[in-house]
């Protein structure tokens, strides 16, 4: 299974753009990259998923370089409510199983 490495924590201020990078050096050809957001005492919530290049939805953008060994979650103009833990994970297509990394604890300050 491809393991992921993310920064443990990040600080930002309201209105700023936040970029969280994740490394997944052993990603396999059929694997996808998925990001989740988790608030305390709640289950993780899906944010975005991608395979290569760039994916954008109403919440975030996901940038994946050609070698797919890393990915960057971009949150535009964060607010205080974006304070949460963000998990990067790589799907295992063969086993239909996901492995979560340690997550990045984002603190948005006023």
């Amino acid at each position: 299974l491809a393991k992921t490495t993310q920064p443990i924590s990040m600080d930002s201020y309201e209105g700023q753009e936040v970029n969280i990078t994740c490394s997944h050096n052993n990603i396999a050809t059929n694997d996808y990259i998925t990001w989740y957001q988790q608030f305390p005492s709640q289950g993780p919530r899906f944010i975005i998923q991608g395979y290569k290049t760039k994916v954008t939805n109403e919440v975030a953008s996901l940038f994946i370089p050609a070698d797919r060994k890393s990915s960057t979650l971009s949150l535009p103009r964060v607010s205080l409510s974006d304070t949460a833990v963000y998990y990067c994970l790589v799907t295992d297509n063969a086993g239909n199983m996901l492995t979560f990394g340690g997550g990045t604890r984002l603190m948005v300050k006023p």
Binding site: G43, T91, N96, F100
Partner: protein, 111 residues
């Protein structure tokens, strides 16, 4: 629409006591089901996953077990709880490789 239920929401159990946590999914058929544990301040650890009735894969050797007696029912059990079993237990479902949908979780405290 699909929904996922977990109960109980919170549980306090003494060391050595048994455990049974239940998860049910509505509105979908033949989902993949997952049990995760999250220790305080830590990331999610996959414990078990199931791709069908009676099919259970274990990721971490421990004193926990899982069963899937019905298509949309997933049960996490233990015969004797340890202090280290305390944590936030999350059940999730997915269809193939798509995003996972998580339940509300059960906070277990072993005393």
């Amino acid at each position: 629409s699909q929904t996922i239920h977990q109960w109980p929401a919170t549980l306090v159990q003494p060391v050595g006591s048994p455990l049974s946590l239940e998860c049910t999914v509505e509105g979908t058929s033949n989902p993949n089901l997952y049990w995760y544990r999250q220790a305080a301040g830590r990331g999610l650890q996959l414990l078990f996953y199931s791709v069908g009735i009676g099919q259970i894969s274990s990721e971490v050797p421990q004193n926990l077990s899982a069963s899937r007696p019905q298509d949309r029912q997933f049960i996490l059990s233990s015969k004797k709880l340890l202090l280290s079993d305390s944590g936030f237990y999350l059940c999730a479902w997915s269809v193939h490789n798509d995003e996972q949908y998580f339940g509300p979780g059960t906070r277990l405290t072993v005393t």
